[in-house]
């Protein structure tokens, strides 16, 4: 129990040191922009269809759920607004980020882990380069930017999914579904949804690059790193979700009072 706790503290500490090293590298060296764009292109292209699909179904599920509840009150007119607001502020970013962690996170930690155990990262250092500058930083930046973009696309698709199910399942017109979205989904809630996406992108990028970079123990080690990435990312996302919700609520209520 105590050993397990210590291992977690060690892990988090190691992760923070890793991030510190990355930021200090970022201050001194600029990663080559074409490498960063290559990575952005790769990550985005790899995961665009998956996230779009995930987003679509998250929106669809939310609409079905809300239909069952608002129908009792005869408030189907508010369905669109409620479902969209719930999706964008809470479950949408979280579920789509889970999806992304399975794709981007697993891929990145496996790639970096393989580079580590096949001594490519050592070779970079021996040949006079800085692996943070050459390998880690471009990926880190790319994952943050593309995850943020992908999450936003996913959220947009969730509105489409919700709309479709609103028409097909709940039997209201598209116009009715969309009418209350602007009144319930306010600018602050969109901002808080996007803020979440950004934080999730940071969590995702940090954990998979750290776990991949610190892989040890051959091919088995790569497998372990991928599993550890999945677990740590899920836990990290849930915690980040909790924290960002608190922050967003606090800011929203402050804005209301003002």
């Amino acid at each position: 129990m105590i050993a397990g706790f210590r291992a977690i503290v060690d892990d988090v500490g190691g992760g923070l040191l890793f991030l510190g090293q990355m930021f200090s590298t970022a201050l001194h060296y600029r990663p080559k922009s074409h490498v960063v764009f290559d990575q952005i292109w790769k990550v985005t292209l790899n995961s665009l269809s998956t996230t779009a699909l995930a987003g679509f179904f998250v929106g669809a599920i939310m609409t079905v759920q809300f239909t069952l509840q608002v129908k009792e009150f005869g408030a189907l007119g508010y369905l669109g607004g409620l479902a969209t607001s719930g999706t964008i502020r809470e479950v949408g970013p979280l579920l789509i980020a889970f999806m992304l962690s399975g794709k981007v996170g697993a891929f990145t930690s496996a790639e970096l882990g393989t580079m580590r155990v096949t001594e490519q990262i050592d070779a970079v250092r021996c040949l006079g380069a800085n692996p943070f500058q050459e390998i880690i930083l471009p990926r880190y930046i790319a994952i943050i930017l593309s995850s943020f973009f992908l999450l936003a696309v996913g959220l947009f698709m969730s509105i489409a999914g919700g709309l479709l199910l609103g028409v097909v399942f709940s039997g209201i017109t598209a116009e009715e579904y969309l009418r209350h979205i602007p009144t319930i989904v306010t600018l602050p809630s969109i901002v808080s949804g996007l803020f979440k996406c950004l934080v999730f992108a940071l969590v995702l990028a940090s954990i998979c690059t750290y776990k991949g970079f610190t892989t040890t123990g051959g091919a088995k080690g790569v497998g372990r790193a991928v599993v550890a990435t999945a677990v740590a990312t899920m836990v990290g996302l849930v915690i980040a979700d909790f924290v960002t919700t608190l922050i967003a609520e606090a800011i929203l209520s402050m804005a209301m009072q003002a």
Binding site: T118, E119, Q120, D122, A123, V124, R125, C126, L127, G128, A129, N130
Partner: protein, 250 residues
């Protein structure tokens, strides 16, 4: 010249290197033999600063290097090249870019000079016409040779080889051993070769060190080792003979 003094390396509670002390003279070929997992790779990585010793000192050309920062280590790595156990080629770069990588980082050279140098180094390991291939498209033996070319390209005065011939066919093995020998004799390169291969150690080494569980159990010239009574060394020797290889063939 490289000198180790009571070098200790631990991972957690496990002590891998238990106080090694030895010296390598300029231009010498030193073979480090030992079974898998005794810490041979760890030893080499301590020299180039990929790992840092927990205790003891490493002197390279009169400079104590084990406490240097990562930036201070760059010039050391320029004169001290390492060929890894894995080919360790960058899989997103072509063979050409792999070999050019160190040249671009360590030196500022015009592009045509880099091209000439890369071609020379690939020719050195008997590879031509594969510059534009990706590492995944060439065989393991070729990858290992490209990796050798990549390290040699930087023209280090000290070369560290981590099992350069493991997994290679006999013909390529001989070629690689010949290359190590030639580099050291013609360019006065100092070489440390980690290997299991007692046979080629006897053939080309100036001196041999046998490691067991992080300690030196025997050292000396090939002639001295042949007379050695340590059981592990005898095992290595008998294996070299059993393989049916005659000494000094290379």
């Amino acid at each position: 010249m490289i000198r180790f003094q009571r070098l200790v390396k631990r991972f957690g509670t496990r002590t891998i290197l238990k106080g090694l002390s030895f010296e390598i003279q300029e231009g010498e070929i030193l073979f480090v033999l030992g079974t898998s997992g005794t810490g041979k790779s760890v030893l080499l990585k301590n020299i180039v600063g990929l790992l840092r010793p927990d205790e003891g000192e490493i002197w390279i050309d009169g400079q104590e290097v084990s406490r240097l920062s990562e930036e201070q280590y760059f010039p050391i790595r320029k004169k001290c090249g390492m060929v890894f156990q894995h080919p360790a080629l960058f899989d997103s770069l072509t063979v050409f870019e792999n070999v050019a990588f160190g040249l671009r980082k360590h030196y500022r050279l015009p592009e045509d000079e880099i091209r000439t140098r890369v071609r020379e180094c690939l020719a050195l390991v008997n590879l031509t016409g594969i510059e534009q291939k990706m590492p995944a498209e060439i065989s393991y033996g070729m990858q290992k040779r490209v990796s050798l070319a990549r390290t040699v390209a930087v023209e280090p005065r000290i070369l560290l080889f981590d099992e350069p011939t493991t997994g290679l066919d006999p013909v390529t093995t001989n070629a690689v051993n010949q290359l190590i020998f030639d580099l050291s004799r013609k360019l006065k390169t100092t070489s440390i070769v980690v290997s299991h291969d007692m046979h080629c150690a006897l053939a080309i080494a100036d001196r041999i060190i046998v490691l067991d569980q992080g300690q030196i159990v025997a050292q000396g010239t090939p002639e001295e080792l042949k007379a050695c009574e340590v059981p592990l060394v005898k095992d290595f020797l008998s294996e070299a003979l059993e393989a049916g290889l005659e000494e000094g063939k290379i």
